[in-house]
Amino acid sequence: MSFLQNSLPYILAGISVGGQYALIAIGYTMVYGILRLINFAHGDVFMAAGMFMVFLSASMPLGAAIPLVLLLTVLLGFLIERAAYKPLRSAPRMSVMISAIGVSYLIQNCALYFTGGLAKVYPQLPWLSDTVTVFGAVTKRVTLITPVLTILLVIGLSLFIKHTKVGIAMRAVSKDFETARLMGIKVNSVISATFIIGSLLAAVGSLLYFTNYASVTPTSGGMPGLKCFVAAVFGGIGSIPGAVIGAFIIGICENIIKGLGWTTFSDAFTFALLIIILLVKPTGLFGEKATDKV
């Protein structure tokens, strides 16, 4: 029983962090699937969602702030694509990637400007921040809610992609822009939809993630962003189930390592995993065999 009591908090935390990573990782993998672009700004969109929450919750009740945070984050993701990626649609992929790095720094520096470089205290979300006891292990309620919410959102997303017209169009566009156009699909609208979904999930992820932390800083998106990117690569970039499983594995492993007392190495583990997966199986767990489009 004492083993369970000692290790359970870490496992629970791992599952929870994994769920939060999964919500962010989906954004990377979906954008990659459709544009073959690693959207370096995605982690910063996640941070921006945290900042929106800080500023909005200061001036309105949470019931109004949360939907507005989701809306603003979606709008940010949409505008980034329209302003920084769409004009480069026929440019070499490297140009778009550099544009994404530019957007990443732009968002970070805007956040720096608005916060004056100070860490902003993240609001306590009632209910989510409450402590609960599971088998003698004390944790916040968000730890238990995250995996459930993540799984529900992933199931919803999978059904959407599998069965709806827009979902099928997304899969068509991700394979072949030109033939998708011949079907009458507006490729740009489908790409926008992808960014909207990715940003929405990142916003939900940010609500859950920052509840565990005291504050948000302009660089808060960096480390989780990178880890989620690793999760997407680990699972096979382009694959949604891959990104989700990759994120859970990374989240759980990190926390087990912390539980063993090697907290300093938990980040190093994630990136070592990236190197190993790139050496051993570059396409990831569920990656496509042919990575380039014809």
């Binding site: 068509a172 011949l182 699909i185 507006k186």
Partner: protein, 236 residues
């Protein structure tokens, strides 16, 4: 003579700095099968791609059923009733046969169950393979799927870019039978082919494209027996 369903006037298309189509004019009569034949690089594909709106023309006009559609976006052109079966089939390999067909009907908001029935009647092979991923089909089946997918948009004009490319002779014959069949059901067909022999046999009217210009034209039968055409395209 009735008004043509499609009328091309002085169409010029630049492709990568080269003038691929140098001012061509031709008409497609409603209910007919018209073919453009010509060698590689004669501008056949560029012409179809421009009509479909994938490429913007440098000059000239494209009139479809009385509307000037020059330079319109592809989704508008598809909605007006023109569809293109692209060269090399280009089916969506990860989508099932049924999903490929659903994407073909992407712009339609009316009931498409009748159209599923229609294309499955035309291609019973596809019905057997409804749940199979498009990429697992054979070349001939993929070509059938590409044609069926185009038909799902309920086109008035179907354009086909080299439907016989890379297929066994027996399969090619099957494809041409289907082209006749579709046409008999009231869909106008604009076909481009390197297999001039087959194309001319099926066509009501034909144009010969030579390096971006129209050389000869005439009924399929006339061109089949024309000495120049025989020498250049029929290999006899």
């Amino acid at each position: 003579m009735s008004e043509p369903i499609l009328s091309i006037k002085d169409l010029k298309v630049n492709y990568g700095g080269i003038e691929a189509v140098k001012g061509i004019s031709f008409d497609v009569e409603e209910g007919s099968i018209v073919t453009l034949i010509g060698a590689n690089g004669a501008g056949k594909s560029s012409t179809l791609r421009t009509i479909a709106g994938l490429v913007k023309p440098a000059a000239g006009s494209i009139v479809f059923r009385g509307d000037d559609i020059t330079g319109y976006d592809t989704n508008v052109i598809v909605r007006k009733g023109i569809t293109l079966v692209p060269e090399g089939r280009r089916i969506f390999p990860d989508l099932t046969v049924q999903e490929n067909l659903r994407v073909g009907a992407y712009l339609r908001s009316d009931d498409i169950s009748g159209d599923f029935q229609w294309v499955y009647d035309l291609f019973p092979r596809l019905k057997e393979r409804t749940w199979q991923a498009g990429g697992t089909l054979s070349g001939g089946e993929q070509q059938m799927l590409a044609v069926a997918r185009a038909l799902m948009s309920k086109p008035k004009l179907i354009m086909m870019d080299e439907p016989s490319l890379g297929l066994a002779p027996l399969v090619v014959r099957g494809i041409f039978d289907i082209i006749r069949e579709i046409n008999a059901q009231g869909v106008t067909v604009l076909l481009i082919e390197q297999n001039a022999n087959m194309a001319l046999k099926v066509a009501d009217y034909a144009y010969v494209l030579e390096t971006g210009r129209i050389g000869l034209s005439g009924t399929g039968k006339e061109l089949l027996t024309n000495d120049d055409v025989k020498k250049a395209y029929l290999g006899s």
